[in-house]
């Protein structure tokens, strides 16, 4: 991917990357991406997004703290309610099954869970992580704004040859992360991390086929 990366190429080549090459991400590239991403839209131009990008020692120190701490209870927010999300749960399980099949891993639930926890805490060894948070006063439409900003960042990173993995998982350590960053837990909710780095082209975890619903099940055209 280069500066000639089209939007289509960026959208289609973006995937959650779960194995990164051991190669640092230059600050200049990230500054440029974050600067351009300010033009993401938001209702009423609120621009509700805020974030911190960590690399090197501050990132490692935070990950060490997470390893030594159990996930917080209560949760920062509910990812989804399994009671009412049967279809969605099926899609989630499908991704998990496809991913582990690609990795050629057959294992019991316990080992799989331990692996899931430790690799997520390490942000899949990505050299940089964007931590995303915003004021608690924001409602569901502003979460959508933050989503627009995040996808803008992820597509701009593709243009720079970089890959990402959005990690709602990290909200299990929301308070710890905010404390590490000096962000107020009272005023701000933590949403997610975005692991950032160069894709490990060899690792099968980055190569399994991801499913999407067929277009006709999501879209109705009227009047055409």
């Amino acid at each position: 991917m280069t500066n000639s990366t089209t939007v289509t190429e960026a959208v289609l080549s973006r995937r959650s990357v779960r194995a990164f090459a051991d190669k640092p991400v230059p600050l200049e590239i990230l500054r440029q991406v974050m600067d351009t991403a300010r033009w993401a839209p938001s209702g009423c131009n609120f621009q509700p997004w805020e974030g911190a990008i960590l690399t090197g020692e501050p990132l490692r120190a935070l990950q060490d703290k997470m390893r030594a701490t159990p996930p917080q209870d209560p949760k920062e927010y509910s990812w989804s309610d399994p009671e009412v999300l049967p279809e969605c749960l099926a899609r989630l399980h499908q991704v998990g099954a496809d991913m582990y099949a690609a990795m050629n891993i057959e294992r019991g639930d316990k080992a799989a869970r331990a692996d899931f926890m430790s690799s997520n805490i390490a942000s899949f060894n990505a050299p940089a992580v964007l931590m995303v948070y915003f004021p608690r006063v924001m409602g569901a439409p502003q979460w959508s704004d933050v989503g627009m900003w995040l996808q803008t960042i992820m597509l701009l990173l593709r243009e720079q040859g970089l890959d990402t993995c959005p990690q709602e998982f990290l909200s299990l350590y929301a308070k710890l992360i905010k404390d590490h960053l000096g962000v107020s837990d009272e005023s701000h909710i933590f949403f997610c991390g975005i692991a950032i780095g160069y894709r490990d082209e060899e690792d099968p975890v980055n190569a399994f086929d991801r499913k999407r619903e067929p277009l006709d099940s999501k879209i109705k055209f009227l009047g055409f």
Partner: protein
């Protein structure tokens, strides 16, 4: 068109050319947008795309109730947080002020401002209106997923030379939308997106929209 150009050239377009949009183009864009990410691969977005007669019928239905003012409003969620501190109010009013200044409408001319606001409900003359809805049980993280999808669509539209305007404003006429198109009762209506060929010469499409500086958004550690 590369990603940077699409991001930089996307803006809320509020005047469109009288030129239709092919269904094939929209189908191509929306098929690609299926690759937008979502937590747990939930893909919470559901979409109705209107043009021609069905769109005209919706606009006419809403036009009937606009004179009733706030009494006709039926939003199913709060577009703005009820409590908002000054900095965000500033950002909100900043866009309005810049827009009305570009149109030479003074602050005290409420009637002209309202008339322009009502253009929301003609989809600013766009030939296509997309309506986005999702299951009511979806929580805020799934609304973030819908946002990722919306921005994916708006950038793919730029690549096709098309423009858009995301319109939460439609939420106030959810009742009339439900009368005009089929949205299941267990779904919530989120927003519209006007789609078409922007009239880039129009003053309303040319004013400068402010954004916060990068230092207000991001902090850096370890670089």
């Amino acid at each position: 068109m590369n990603v940077s150009e699409a991001v930089a050239s996307r803006r809320s377009i509020r005047a469109f050319l009288d030129k239709p949009v092919d269904r094939e183009v929209l189908a191509r864009v929306l098929a690609k947008a299926q690759r937008s990410p979502s937590g747990g691969n939930t893909q919470p977005w559901n979409v109705i795309v209107l043009t021609g007669d069905p769109l005209a019928a919706l606009l006419a239905r809403v036009a009937e109730v606009i004179p009733q003012g706030l009494a006709a409003y039926s939003p199913e969620y709060n577009v703005y947080p009820p409590e908002l501190d000054g900095a965000y109010q500033q950002r909100r009013f900043g866009v309005g002020d810049a827009m009305y200044a570009a149109l030479n409408i003074p602050r005290e001319d409420k009637a002209s401002r309202l008339k322009w606001f009502a253009r929301n409900f003609q989809a600013f003359g766009a030939p296509v209106l997309l309506l986005l809805h999702t299951k009511r049980y979806m929580g805020p993280p799934q609304w973030a997923d819908m946002g990722m999808w919306l921005q994916t669509v708006s950038l793919l539209l730029r690549e096709e030379g098309l423009d858009s305007c995301m319109q939460e404003a439609w939420a106030v006429y959810t009742k009339q939308i439900r009368e005009s198109v089929e949205i299941p009762d267990d779904h919530i209506f989120f927003c519209g997106m006007a789609i078409g060929w922007g009239d880039r010469e129009a003053a309303i499409n040319r004013f400068e929209v402010p954004r916060a500086g990068i230092e207000e958004v991001v902090t850096w550690q370890g670089f």
